[in-house]
């Protein structure tokens, strides 16, 4: 078996309400980093904690390195300490009554399969790796947030677990530090060849760190794909919206062939779009597209419309326009410090068919 982590039909139900995790399946091949992305309450952290063994699943199967660690139907439940995993917590969870060295050496001392070897050397190497070589004897409470998170990372890497779990490890840090540590985290994980499962609500983290990204909502895994596919071929209107395609045009399907569809937008005319859904003629449809993919003042080969700028919001590095055409409204984004289009003037706009994505309209509310 090649997968370092295999999850099949995972279900976690708390006492009340909908299941927190609803039949989630995916795998993480050895050496790959998979990011679970979604808004808070989507079940991503619960999934991670089920893999860690800190939450007990109510259904499905979890295997780590080919060994089943959780399968409630057969009464299998391996305790966290026997799963050979490492975990980095959102709140760092470094032990404040110990020094940096003691924190990192802790797993080597208390693991049953102690790992053996020279504890001091292993700790020293790992601290070097995370850039804390000179801090070994400091009490952790004297460190900054970013340094504490490095200690937590070193503590979970020092014994080279089969699988590393990271639960929003950067979200307690300030914005600048978050970006720096994010890039460094990728370097360290790739350098050590770790297999990782990473949970975040931050798209930019997901794109930089993930070999694949899984977008979750209300306990369900909506799409699991490499970052560029998530961004260019979102399989679900929620995925499209969550990753930034905030414009939605409503219409009816005229015809579809393969993954190409033509949608009737009423007074605005018709639009060609890519679709992952099996749409049939007459279906209600919603077309999603990114504000930055709207070409203002351009007449392309297809999907050309004529509209009017209602409002212009200058934001320095970019300008946002509210555009109205044939009873539909959308936001367009123009990069650069100069705003070239005036309000209340007729304007041509092109919506490239490849960047318009049509979905079946199931009346779901857009998320902010």
């Amino acid at each position: 078996m090649n997968s370092a982590l295999l999850i099949e039909g995972l279900v976690k139900r708390f006492a009340t309400g909908k299941p927190a995790v609803d039949r989630v399946s995916f795998d993480v091949p050895a050496g790959e980093i998979v990011v679970l992305l979604g808004p808070s309450g989507c079940g991503k952290t619960t999934t991670l904690r089920c893999v860690a063994g800190l939450e007990h699943p109510t259904g499905g199967r979890i295997s780590i390195g080919g060994r089943i660690v959780s399968e409630p139907e057969r009464g299998v439940l391996v305790s966290p300490r026997e799963r050979d995993i490492g975990m980095v917590f959102q709140s760092y969870a470094v032990w404040p009554h110990m020094t940096v060295y003691q924190n990192v050496a802790y797993p080597l001392k208390y693991r049953r399969s102690g790992g053996g070897g020279d504890i001091a050397a292993k700790v020293g190497d790992t601290l070097e790796l995370v850039g804390l070589g000179d801090y070994a004897e400091r009490p952790v409470t004297s460190l900054s947030g970013g340094q504490m998170q490095r200690v937590a990372l070193a503590r979970s890497l020092v014994y080279r677990p089969q699988l590393l779990l990271l639960d929003e490890p950067l979200s307690n840090l300030d914005a600048k530090l978050r970006i720096r540590l994010r890039d460094e985290l990728r370097r360290i994980l790739k350098q050590t060849g770790m297999t990782g499962l990473y949970v975040t609500h931050d798209q930019s983290e997901a794109v930089v760190l993930g070999d694949r990204i899984g977008v979750m909502r209300e306990g369900k895994l909506l799409q699991m794909a490499p970052p560029d596919e998530i961004y260019n071929r979102p399989a679900d209107p929620f995925v499209a919206n969550f990753t930034g395609a905030s414009n939605v045009l409503l219409g009816k399907v005229l015809e579809r062939s393969g993954d190409k569809a033509t949608i009737d937008l009423g007074a605005a005319g018709r639009i060609e779009a890519w679709t992952p859904h099996q749409l049939s003629t007459g279906d209600k449809a919603r077309v999603a597209l990114r504000a930055e993919n709207v070409r203002l003042g351009e007449r392309g080969p297809a999907n050309v419309f004529s509209g009017r700028v209602i409002e212009r919001r200058y934001q320095g590095m970019q300008t946002v326009y509210d555009v109205e055409f044939g009873g539909q409204r959308l936001e367009a984004l123009e990069l650069g410090t100069a705003a070239r289009h005036e309000t209340n003037r007729e304007i041509a706009l092109t919506l490239p068919p490849d960047q318009c994505w049509a979905y079946r309209d199931e009346g779901q509310a857009a998320v902010d």
């Binding site: 300490r81 026997e82 799963r83 709140s91 404040p96 802790y106 208390y110 693991r111």
Partner: protein, 602 residues
């Protein structure tokens, strides 16, 4: 809203904003009225004088007593010649040493036991899925409300070497072992069981506030549950454990009732019982009592200081600032084991002693031929209750207790409000000294307050001594730190801007307090007054030295019955006192809950 007045102020503010130099600024109205400027210093001075009268003067008289060998009753204060000689003699006395080391042993042993019980309980309640956790958490606080003397009396009935009920049961079961609670180990066990809640309170909240991922990290890192508890959990809450155990040690050190009931029959004196013995001799050794009281106070003060230091230091457990759902460990079948552990404790601490008191109170004679005689209904009657209520002192003591309770609550509550407002809501000079003086009694055991008040008033002719006012004033002084603390939280919850808004609307300081602060702080005021009332009606330590036959209170009368040697009457009156306490306690809890609920608007 008094809008017109707000308008009146607006132009002046504009003027101030456009003024180009200080000379152009309008003269403030406060500066124009010199009487206003004097009000604050006068108020601070009045509070300081009052606190000096309540706290400092008695303490000075205590030191004065310890440093002299003149008897204030016989000699008056004229023949006072201070010398350290007397004090040093007392410190060198063997009996004092013995009482001192007995106290350290009893309280030290009791604290160790209290830590074990308190820690186990907080872990069970906060960290496991033991059934009926809420009930266990609530019931484990019950020992705090049991008056120490009642606990001592009950355990005497249960564990006296010859007639103890436990020993009767053991004999019936043909087990050769006999309990003897009239001993140092008996003292330690009863201390440990009844003062464990102090440790529990500190450790439970520390466990609740601890980031659960600290323990999860250890588990994921491969440590066993056992290793996690001892390498992560307990070290992290070490400050709370230490603070809780120091507090329980200090409380035990100041307790009179338990060692009086269990130590006295075996001739084991601790500092508190020794001090009382000195004043009960004839002639009473007031000077020696004062000297030993100062020793007791010094030990207490050092420990309280240490405890405050620990609490003010940064606690480990709150490193990450976010709200947690405390982790609860699934114990599986073992949760019934922890449940039965908790139940055993509750049975031993609450059910057994109550049962013992009931049996002793209703049984004509405490002699049991065998275990079956326990169920011989002909042996039970109301005779002890009748004789207790035939005694005119009984009703007098109940009446006196209620009077003292009400006086203490009213005076203490008002004073605490004045102090709390001055310290927490104003910037007047001298508020730091007020704060310090009002926290000082934290370090003074009740018994020492009693001796100090005795010294302060016994020599003054026609004064306070012999009235219930001296009891009430001593209680106010003793409990003022607790009352101010209870009130301070409700002061801190009232946002400053609520008061400032009233000032802007044109209200004066007193008007603002009356119309804004007092109504908003009412739940806190009522709660702290009821707290004071309850504390006052169960206080024994400081009453011992201040009562006379006209002003006897329930706690003192109970001691009288106990020392009179009639177990039946003692048990009967214990039950009466407990019942009255329980009724008043539930009544006052109800009142403060009502006021809290009707004041939910902030």
């Amino acid at each position: 809203m008094k809008m017109p007045q707000a308008h009146l102020r607006t132009p002046r503010r504009n003027e101030a904003l456009t003024a180009t130099s200080a000379a152009d600024l309008p003269i403030s109205t406060d500066a124009a009225r010199p009487s206003r400027r004097l009000a604050a210093p006068l108020w601070v001075l009045a509070l300081l004088l009052l606190l000096t009268f309540l706290v400092i003067y008695p303490l000075l008289m205590l030191v004065f007593g310890a440093l002299s060998d003149s008897n204030p009753v016989i000699d008056g204060f004229g023949k006072f010649s201070p010398s350290a000689k007397h004090f040093l003699e007392v410190l060198g006395n063997e009996n004092v040493h013995l009482a001192f080391f007995n106290a350290l042993a009893a309280c030290g042993g009791g604290t160790v036991l209290a830590v074990v019980i308190g820690l186990a309980f907080s872990w069970i309640v906060v960290r496991t899925n033991t059934p009926f956790k809420g009930f266990i958490a609530g019931a484990s606080m019950v020992p705090l409300f049991v008056p120490p003397l009642v606990a001592g009396v009950a355990w005497g009935i249960l564990g006296s070497p010859k007639t103890g009920l436990l020993n009767t049961a053991l004999k019936w079961m043909n087990i050769d072992f006999r309990f003897n609670f009239y001993s140092m180990s008996g003292l330690i066990i009863v201390f440990g069981m009844y003062y464990a809640p102090y440790v529990y309170m500190f450790t439970a909240s520390a466990l609740k506030n601890m980031d659960p991922s600290l323990e999860e990290a250890s588990e994921v890192a491969g440590a066993s549950a056992f290793a996690t508890i001892f390498t992560v959990t307990f070290p992290l809450i070490a400050p709370a454990i230490l603070a809780g155990s120091l507090l329980s040690f200090v409380v035990m050190l100041g307790i009179y009732g338990v060692p009086a009931a269990l130590g006295a029959p075996a001739n084991i004196n601790v500092l508190t019982t020794y001090i009382f013995q000195l004043t009960a001799w004839s002639p009473p050794l007031y000077n020696t009592a004062a000297a030993v009281a100062i020793l007791l106070m010094a030990v207490t003060a050092i420990l309280v200081w240490a405890q405050q230091r620990i609490l003010s230091g940064r606690s480990f457990a709150t490193v990450a600032g976010k709200a947690f759902r405390p982790r609860s460990l699934n114990l599986g079948k073992w949760r019934w084991f922890t449940f039965s552990l908790a139940m055993t404790y509750l049975v031993i601490v609450v059910v057994l002693p109550t049962l013992a008191l009931v049996i002793a109170a209703f049984r004509k004679f405490m002699f049991f031929k065998d275990f079956d005689a326990l169920f011989d209904m002909r042996q039970y009657s109301w005779v002890h209750f009748n004789s207790v209520f035939d005694n005119p002192l009984t009703m007098l003591s109940i009446w006196n207790t209620l009077k003292v309770g009400v006086i203490t609550a009213v005076i203490g509550g008002t004073l605490a409000f004045a102090i709390g407002y001055t310290v927490f809501r104003t910037q007047v000079a001298g508020r730091k000294s007020i704060d310090m003086l009002s926290t000082l009694p934290v370090a003074i055991p009740g018994l020492v307050v009693g001796v100090a008040y005795l010294w302060a008033w016994i020599g003054l002719p026609g004064g306070l001594y012999g009235t219930i006012w001296i009891l009430a004033l001593a209680f106010v002084a003793r409990f003022i730190p607790d009352t101010v603390k209870a009130l301070s939280t409700s002061f801190l919850q009232i946002h400053r801007e609520l008061e400032e808004a009233a000032w802007i609307c044109g209200r004066g300081l007193l008007g603002t307090i009356r119309t804004i602060v007092l109504p908003l702080a009412r739940p806190g005021v009522v709660a702290s007054m009821t707290l004071l009332f309850v504390l006052a009606i169960r206080e024994l330590g400081s009453s011992l030295f201040l009562y006379t036959s006209d002003t006897t209170v329930m706690a003192v009368l109970l001691l009288d019955y106990y020392e009179g040697g009639n177990t039946g009457k003692t048990a009967a009156f214990s039950l009466v006192q407990t019942a009255i306490l329980a009724v008043l306690l539930s009544f006052t809890t109800w009142i403060s809950r009502e006021t809290t609920q009707s004041a939910r608007f902030n």
